[in-house]
């Protein structure tokens, strides 16, 4: 177990293994996203109340899932970096921030353009929307902190602390639709309950969710790999890669 942990923390090992995994995640993401999008836009039936505007769900829900899971990963990686001083964990935490921020923004924008025809308003200050906006600011705070220090370890410490403090926001997002009165509908997909929609609607949603996660894994590896190369550019294995290129 400890040997495995140490190996996982080795930048060279991570670079090699992620290089082998990257094509698989990329192909899986491409296939799932193409199939999911065609299904979502052309094959899934219109909603009996919302008409075709509900098709935004196929972007909105996966983006919101990813926004929260990405944050969780960023906080956990940040904590691992804080506690065990693992460089690779710092790299992963740093790489999560811009990706997560972009998907939080996507969830907010798609929510707004879905809200307009459905609720009659682009934005309402209710608990779900406000806590998602807070999530965006937390991500942007981490991005800012990462570039605010010249010392990498200090940047990693500060942003890990912010990410950990911001963790309280995650259960608030999740339960906001239950604790407070809201316009936002409750969860469409859950691990414990049968979906409230017919299969021809939720199957493509599931495909999109898995596709979004594969895409996240792929671009996270891409970012982490470049970050590792930059940090380790004085070491022998990186110099070899540079010579080969």
């Amino acid at each position: 177990m400890w040997r495995w942990f140490h190996k996982l923390g080795s930048p060279k090992w991570f670079y090699a293994i992620s290089g082998r995994l990257l094509p698989w995640f990329s192909v899986a993401a491409l296939l799932l996203l193409v199939i999911g999008t065609v299904w979502a836009l052309l094959i899934a039936p219109a909603d009996y109340q919302q008409g075709n505007s509900y098709r935004i769900i196929y972007i909105h829900v996966p983006a919101a899932f990813l926004a929260q899971s990405g944050y969780l990963l960023m906080a956990v990686a940040g904590a691992v970096g804080l506690i065990w001083k693992m460089k690779l964990a710092d790299v992963v935490a740093k790489s999560c921030a811009p990706i997560g921020a972009s998907f939080t923004l996507l969830a907010l924008i798609t929510g707004a353009v879905w809200g307009k025809p459905t609720w009659g308003a682009w934005w309402v200050w209710d608990a779900r929307l406000t806590s998602m906006l807070v999530l965006l600011f937390l991500y942007l705070g981490v991005v800012a902190l990462q570039s605010a220090f010249t010392d990498r370890n200090q940047a990693a410490r500060a942003s890990a602390l912010l990410a950990l403090v911001g963790l309280v926001n995650i259960p608030i997002i999740k339960y906001s639709v239950e604790w407070w009165n809201t316009l936002h509908q409750p969860a469409s997909l859950s691990l414990t309950q049968r979906p409230s929609m017919p299969a021809e609607m939720w199957v493509p949603l599931l495909i999109m969710v898995v596709g979004f996660y594969c895409f996240f894994a792929a671009v996270l590896m891409m970012r982490a790999r470049v970050e590792l190369l930059e940090r380790e550019r004085r070491t022998g294995w990186v110099k070899e890669i540079i010579r080969e290129n």
């Binding site: 899934a44 935004i56 811009p98 996507l106 307009k116 891409m222 540079i242």
Partner: protein
Amino acid sequence: MQFADFSEFIAMGGHGLYVWVAYGVAVLVFAFNLVTPMLKRRRFFVEQARQLRREELHASDS
């Protein structure tokens, strides 16, 4: 297939603007996440290759 023809597909039953803005922003977000690490990676290799040449030139001078 839920739509009779292409113009009906674009119109999305009157919600076309909302649906296409949402999918358009999604395309932008995906492109951002793909392009930024690719550019960073290319910039890294261009810079490091230059550095390496400079070092080797230096080494052969002395």
